[in-house]
């Protein structure tokens, strides 16, 4: 074939090919479907939060301080959530005091000390399973164990212990993950200059894993803050006689924010609808703050290896 004028040069061929793209129709369809899924999720969230905010608005407009600072009451116009706030905060403190040392300790043992035996693997797997056990089961456990067997009664301590047991597997798992993220080369470096196992863990592994551990444990506290079912089992009640002092709650009846939401949502008077929504808003804001703290800490101290 002779080289005529109709022969394309390499440049022309390349240009033609590069510009002949017809797009990727199947890819576009899929992208659309994915976008739709995301929009459905977003819509649910917006409707849910929007609906609650609108219902709660009158309460916060009429008596914002009064609502947060007043005691429970059967008369909607005077009802507040002060016992719920106090009770929930006290519960979280108990959970933190109990679940964090035990959970972090167990995780350090499993990650840093325990040999990789079938037994250790079985334990690790089962801790993951424990994290998936429905919370009502922990409520039953708390009722049998803390309220009855240990004779603590339906007190704040029993509630706190129950929630601590509930979040323990989560604390263990997140701590183990944070410890695993510290590279083995760091441990070797410490051992290599003659550090003992404990010196290596105390001076290097734990400090470098601390942001991850902190993030995970704070998130688990947020989980404990929102739990309702186990608390109902072990006796958090929303009676009008619930004391407004934490000291009394330790010995007698106590309540928590989610319990109040549950109780009020079942009340016949219409006015309680708005109050329920307002209590939910308070609950959500607290959980949001807890999670935001965790995210801030993670972003601030996140380490690339």
């Amino acid at each position: 074939m002779a080289l005529g004028t109709d022969t394309l040069t390499a440049r022309e061929v390349v240009a033609q090919r590069l510009r002949s793209g017809s797009g990727d129709p199947r890819g576009l369809v899929l992208q659309g479907a994915l976008l739709l899924a995301m929009l459905v999720l977003l819509a649910v969230l917006v409707v849910l939060i929007g609906d609650i905010l609108i219902r709660a608005l009158p309460v916060f407009l009429d008596r914002p301080v009064d609502f947060l600072g007043s005691a429970l009451s059967s008369r909607p116009a005077r009802a507040g959530i002060v016992q719920g706030i106090l009770g929930s905060v006290a519960l979280i403190v108990i959970v933190a005091l109990i679940a964090l040392p035990i959970g972090i300790g167990a995780a350090v043992y499993l990650e840093e000390y325990a040999r990789d035996t079938p037994m250790a693997r079985l334990i690790r797997t089962n801790i993951r399973n424990l994290a998936g056990v429905p919370s009502i089961v922990y409520g039953l456990l708390g009722l049998a164990m803390f309220v009855s067997t240990l004779g603590l009664g339906k007190t704040l301590i029993a509630g706190g212990l129950t929630l601590a047991v509930l979040v323990l597997p989560i604390v263990v798992i997140t701590t183990m993950e944070a410890l695993r993220a510290v590279p083995g080369s760091i441990r070797e470096a410490a051992f290599g200059v003659g550090a003992t196992r404990w010196e290596t863990i105390r001076s290097h592994v734990l400090p470098y894993a601390a942001p991850g551990i902190l993030t995970g444990t704070i998130l688990s506290l947020g989980r404990a803050f929102g739990e309702t079912a186990p608390l109902l089992m072990v006796g958090a009640i929303a009676g009008t006689f619930t004391s407004t002092s934490v000291g009394d709650m330790l010995n007698g009846s106590y309540t928590a924010l989610p319990t109040i939401v549950f109780d009020w949502s079942g009340k016949p008077q219409d006015e309680f609808r708005a109050l329920t929504s307002a209590a939910i808003v308070v609950l959500l804001v607290v959980i949001l703050l807890i999670n935001a703290t965790a995210i801030l800490l993670r972003n601030r101290y996140d380490r690339k290896w």
């Binding site: 040999r115 990789d116 590279p183 080369s185 760091i186 441990r187 070797e188 470096a189 410490a190 051992f191 290599g192 200059v193 003659g194 550090a195 003992t196 010196e199 001076s203 290097h204 470098y208 380490r303």
Partner: protein, 307 residues
């Protein structure tokens, strides 16, 4: 290249133990396959050099290393002389690093790792019951393949070892001295509070060397210390090794044969058999191993015909 060698005592033949390691090495099927035609006399030449007892830092006696049921190193017997640089060379996966890490019980940290045979350090079997591996590692320091400074300040990187060893003297002075000996002081003297991880790769590795010598060890083990470094940083570390040799005994694993030839006094060549277990082929003064290897496999390896 200057090679300072204590003269090996006597000819190798005189020192060959009955049924000695070299014979066993040579009778492995793989060794025979690959070194076809080697006379028995040649294998006798490959007996590792021996040294007067006071010059011997490590003595390996029939050492095998296992990971679970897998044997990574088979039956290595050799001596490491004092204030010399001994290089371990050989193809990838021949167990050089495993062997090196058994010198300071670093493999203890790996589940399922164990040894058979003996490693005597100044005459003491370091795997014997009652020997504290922490004390072993204090005396036998290590520099790793990838620079691994702690994500702490340069100062704290160097000071950590002495601190856990209970050092009560002038820490500032010790840190400066260690950094000077690692040829890093001039680079970092104005930024001791900055993180060690912010240094360049070569500087990080010198920081790791400073960290290792801060605890005043007797031996420094180096596991391919230059494999992550550029040629200039590599040369800098090699110069440093020559300086450090005055005070320390150095054992280095290297992939780089030029590095072994340039920087070491003695070289041990390992390869692996068909069971994938590494074994010692020969050990000799570096110049001799690279110019007059006693073994065909060694010659093939150093001339680049395999590995």
């Amino acid at each position: 290249m200057t090679v300072h060698t204590p003269v090996p005592t006597g000819s190798p033949a005189e020192h060959e133990p009955s049924g000695g390691p070299t014979i066993r090495v040579m009778t492995t099927p793989a060794a025979i396959d690959e070194s076809e035609g080697i006379e028995p006399a040649a294998s006798a030449l490959a007996t590792p050099p021996t040294f007067p007892p006071e010059e011997v830092v490590f003595e390996l006696d029939g050492l095998s290393c296992f990971y679970g049921s897998f044997r990574a190193v088979r039956d290595v017997s050799l001596q490491v002389p004092r204030n010399q640089i001994t290089a371990l060379i050989g193809p990838s996966g021949c167990g050089k690093s495993t062997l090196l890490r058994s010198f300071n019980r670093m493999n203890d940290l790996i589940d399922g790792a164990r040894i058979e045979g003996e490693i005597r350090y100044h005459g003491v079997d370091i795997y014997e019951a009652g020997v504290d591996p922490v004390e072993v590692r204090r005396r036998i320091g290590m520099v790793f393949q990838k620079p691994n400074p702690f994500p702490k300040s340069i100062y704290d990187n160097v000071a950590f070892g002495p601190k856990v060893a209970g050092f009560r003297g002038n820490m500032d002075q010790l840190v400066e001295e260690s950094l000077r000996r690692a040829a890093l002081w001039d680079d970092v003297k104005d930024k001791l509070k900055q993180p060690g991880t912010a240094l360049s790769g070569g500087q990080q590795q010198r920081l790791c060397i400073a960290r290792a010598i801060a605890v005043e060890p007797d031996v420094i083990l180096m596991d391919e210390p230059c494999s992550a470094l550029d040629p200039i940083a590599t040369l800098r570390i090699e110069e440093l090794m020559r300086e450090l040799r005055e005070k320390y005994t150095i054992v280095i694993v290297t992939h780089n044969m030029q590095q072994a030839a340039r920087a070491s006094d003695y070289t041990a060549f390992l390869t692996m058999g068909e069971d994938r277990a590494g074994h010692l082929v020969e050990m000799a003064p570096t110049e001799q191993l690279f110019t007059r290897p006693a073994n065909r496999i060694t010659e093939d390896y150093i001339t680049g015909r395999f590995g």
